[in-house]
């Protein structure tokens, strides 16, 4: 297959999935700011309601900051290999938007993350709200200042079940993907 064909296939696949923005690479604070600005402008142009704009913005901040803070270095990448990159895609569909992220985590951390996400998905909206308040009030804080509220907040603001998956690799790393849906009213 020619390179041109590969590029076109990638483009065509994204076009058909209505991808508004796609990025693969390293997440930095500057990039984070740029993506937020870009999406904010696009939502304005689409004439979205303030409610959708706020929800998208809030969820996007948490998703991007998760990528910024929580990407793990697989053991193999320690021998001079570059830090694994992340992927972010934002798609528009008939019911609203999807914020899709992918990043590597260590196998050991993947299990805890999976349990956490399954626990949140098993909860009613009221239970998620209660969990948020109890984690907020417990006073504990991670060194990154998050304190484990990110995923709870994403689930709460989305109002939909979190769609996620894990692909484990033998080098001790696991590819984690999350798809957060933001529905229009």
């Amino acid at each position: 297959m020619t390179q041109i064909q590969e590029v076109f296939d990638l483009y065509d696949s994204m076009e058909r999935k209505n991808i508004m923005l796609s990025f693969k690479g390293d997440m930095s604070t500057d990039l984070l700011t740029s993506i937020l600005q870009l999406i904010e402008n696009k939502l304005d142009r689409f004439g979205e309601s303030p409610k959708i704009k706020r929800r998208m913005f809030n969820i996007l901040v948490e998703c991007l900051q998760n990528l910024y803070h929580h990407i793990d270095q697989p053991p193999l990448a320690a021998d001079g290999k570059p830090r694994p990159s992340v992927i972010v895609m934002i798609a528009k569909n008939i019911t609203g938007y999807s914020i899709i992220t992918g990043n590597y985590v260590l196998n050991d951390n993947a299990e805890a993350l999976k349990n956490r996400l399954e626990e949140i998905n098993g909860m009613t909206a009221d239970e998620v709200k209660k969990l948020y308040k109890s984690v907020l009030a417990d006073g504990k804080m991670s060194d990154k200042g998050g304190g484990g509220l990110g995923m709870i907040d994403i689930a709460r603001k989305s109002g939909e079940k979190l769609d996620f998956g894990f692909i484990p690799f033998e080098d001790g790393s696991t590819f984690f993907s999350l798809n957060v849906k933001v529905k229009q009213d």
């Binding site: 700011t33 948490e62 907020l136 006073g139």
Partner: protein, 127 residues
């Protein structure tokens, strides 16, 4: 101890803390990657203020967005103020939210439920 006046940025809020008037204002977006860096000086200021607080303190929270990393720090700010209240001072919190911003109203109600301070929910027109 100096009053605090910090200009807002795209990721951090405007802050004005005045020890003479007892007016504490946090306004705008609070979405820094590392919110501890931003809030630590504010929390230290409240610690110093607690030694000689104004007769009445009014906190004005006018947030447009805040991330979960900030929400823990804001919790810490309220906790510090809670201890000033326990020493017998008046502390009121005006939590502003835009008309239609149910999430921001709920966020205020969350704090009201877990913090022992007088919260007033203040609706403001949409920008």
């Amino acid at each position: 101890m100096e009053n605090i006046k910090i200009e807002g940025t795209t990721k951090t809020p405007n802050v004005e803390f005045n020890k003479e008037t007892g007016e504490l204002i946090i306004q705008g977006r609070s979405i820094p990657e590392n919110s501890i860096d931003f809030y630590k000086p504010l929390i230290d200021w409240i610690d110093a203020y607690a030694l000689q607080p104004a007769g009445a303190t009014t906190v004005h929270m006018r947030l447009e967005y805040f991330n979960t990393s900030s929400s823990k720090c804001i919790f810490d700010v309220f906790k510090k103020l809670e201890s000033i209240k326990k020493s017998g001072k008046d502390i009121a919190v005006n939590w502003h939210y835009e008309e239609d911003d149910e999430d921001m109203l709920e966020a205020g109600e969350d704090y009201d439920a877990i913090i022992d301070l007088e919260f007033k929910m203040v609706m403001v027109p949409e920008r």
